[in-house]
Amino acid sequence: MIPEIGQFALILALLLALAQGILPIIGAHRGNATLMAVARPAAQGQFVFVAIAFGCLAYSFLTNDFTVENVARNSFSQLPLIYRFTATWGSHEGSILLWTLVLAFWTVAVTVFSRHLPEDMAARVIGVMGLVSVGFLAFILVTSSPFTRIFPAPMDGNDMNPLLQDPGMVFHPPMLYMGYVGFSVAFAFAIAALLSGRFDAAWARWSRPWTTVAWVFLTIGITAGSWWAYNELGWGGWWFWDPTENASFIPWLAGTALIHSLAATEKRGAFKGWTVLLAILAFSMSLLGTFLVRSGVLSSVHAFATDPTRGIFILGFLGVVIGGSLVLYAIRVPKMESGGSFSWFSRESMLLVNNVVVVAALGSVLLGTLYPLFMDALGMGKISVGPPYFNAVFVPLIAPAMFLAGIGPLVRWKQASLPDLAKRLRIAFFVAVASALLLPLVAGGFNWMASVGIALSLWIVFTVMIGFVERLKHEPGNKLAALWKLPRGFWGMQLGHFGLAWVVAGIALVSAYETERNVKMNVGDNVEIAGYTMTFQGVVMHDGPNYRAARGTLDVSKDGKPAFVLHPEKRIYNASGMPMTEAAIDYGFSRDVYAALGEELGPNEWTVRVFYKPFIGWIWVAGGLLALGGTLAAFDRRYRIAMKKAAEPAKAKGVAVEGAKA
């Protein structure tokens, strides 16, 4: 009964999405207030029904209803409760339903926080999001219904993919989708601007906080995904340039470029066309990511069940959404006036160069991701593109953006003086370079990547400090109080850049100075790594809720004193029989020690992989800082004031109407 309610709710949601997508846009075009007024209730109703459908699916998973095919294929009665819940989005069907739910959620957020917008703008934005939702709901109903029943029902399920049975799975997909789908708001604003032909600074101010919040979610999602890979895959790596990872990283790069471009459009009315194109690009890349992951055109460690009809459907949808937007863009872009002029050396030009660099880096990742597909389609053989390509191409391309991240915030809008800036920054420059040159002496061994990485991150750190100092110079009174009162937008930018510097430092240090040993161990054997001595104490069998594990014990000592104990596991999951490596990690601020069991060679004889990973934790901590910076920037005072101001005239109008009645 419950699954049928879910299916029915999906159909109702589709009907509401159609109303939400069509009527308000017609209304905005004709200036018909009644049709425009459909937007908000239709969107909110749609959200309710999608949420009911999602709830029904979650209920089927939680109650082990194996008469539902999706539950039977992706869950298992012994699965712990929390994973039975996350299994709701662990399958293809469920994850598309989550996509749709998140989209409906963002749309509701727009309906609530858009009271300050002109009615036709809000109607168009909500309408465009409705049209996107139509595509996804139709996709679910036509090709991927999660509520299909199976007869006869199996006694038990096939179990969730053991790789997905990790706490990371609780947060990673919803966060990632909040980010992916959040770009739909910026996209809808861009399309609404193209439809109405109004591209003013107000438009950029409206869409900017939405874009930043989506970017924050995507940042958290990617950081969590990397953390999951590090903990769960047992290879000790944290980023693999896997097509699915790239599918989340490419929209992130597009979103990063968009945030910066929106800054120039809001403040100076500059590069409007480019900003609109980036807004289309960011959401297109999110959709493309979904296509790449769901259609099976690329093979990936993340490969879910694939089905060509689904691929055709998403491709057609992509063609309509992206193709349609680009046609609209091409028609409308000549009407855009360019904003205020700026010289070759100004905040605008720095932001533009930043954009070009980031988009070029995006292009290199996209090319590497799709290259195997191009070669195969052209009949030029099967190849795969791996980390060597991405490291060799992406890193040098993105490095100039790091350098600019230091300069950009200190350069004035419109026109700046290069000699003046050079004077302000020369000390920071020399200290950064000198530290990079000294690093090999401390770290023991020269590595150009570490030195360049450290130089760039110190450069950003120093320029962030200079930014604060210069800003406070003009504030009267208590400097500490003034520091607290600086606009959140400023704090957000500085924290974001500082977080970036920290990520880069962590990546540079761990890539350059990590060590790894792969050894065969018997009980009592020792292995030494980076000053730690690990003694293998053998393996005992141990039962988990839905798996059996061989649990190893490694006593770790440093300088002859016992430091900590690691318990790496090799698990066999009961339902699928799939073996899984569960790494054991001792986390630290300046280093992680990581151990994983390899193959069993004989009684109590195993291959063991141990890693020493200096500063790897910085990557995730700094990822959190990036997200915090974005959050502060999104909630800057000026956006809240704009909303309040808009609310007041609306109230005043209400009073006037009542007055007229009286």
Binding site: S284, V297, S299, K382, G577
Partner: protein, 172 residues
């Protein structure tokens, strides 16, 4: 013209995606096709002291199915293999890296589609055949030459599309 550029780039990408949908990225051409099947001699599961070698199948068209008890996809194709075996298709099993020694009891319990299945405990024969995972199925002709390699479970669709025409041709 410049303003149409994004659309043109997207259209070109879309074309590649459309072609890509009809290709299988997991299907890697095997360099073993057209080459003699590598020789081996391995113990037959459930018959102590008996061994099997591809030499014994000279003059016969047969399938070598690489499987393992721990392999989930192999369970999916088990039903299809049983039907084929009943229809008289000679299927030989290569039980790959079965460290827990489960193959014999599993075949006894679920039924064996194999004429015989041999035990490749350390996976060395798998390496000789370039096995990347389970299940994989090789079609070997009367002269002992590998004619096709199929990656992934066999089902009615791919059997009709890929195997049947080839077997018909080879058996003539």
């Amino acid at each position: 013209m410049k303003r149409w550029l994004p659309l043109i780039i997207f259209a070109a990408l879309g074309g590649f995606f459309y072609i890509g949908l009809h290709l299988d990225p997991r299907e890697v051409p095997s360099p073993f096709i057209g080459k003699p099947a590598p020789a081996f001699m391995l113990p037959v599961i459930g018959q102590p002291g008996v061994t099997f070698s591809p030499e014994q199948n000279k003059g016969k068209v047969w399938l070598l199915n690489v499987w393992a008890p721990w392999c989930v996809a192999c369970r999916q194709e088990h039903g299809a293999l049983m039907q084929l075996a009943q229809a008289g298709v000679p299927i030989y099993g290569l039980n790959w890296k079965d460290k827990d020694r489960e193959a014999e009891s599993l075949l006894a319990q679920k039924g064996s589609p194999y004429t015989v299945s041999v035990d490749d405990l350390d996976g060395r024969v798998g390496i000789d055949y370039g096995v990347t995972g389970t299940p994989e199925t090789f079609v070997i002709d009367k002269g002992g030459i590998i004619r096709m390699k199929h990656i992934g479970p066999i089902n009615a669709d791919n059997w009709q599309a890929k195997f049947e025409p080839l077997l018909k041709e080879l058996n003539q």
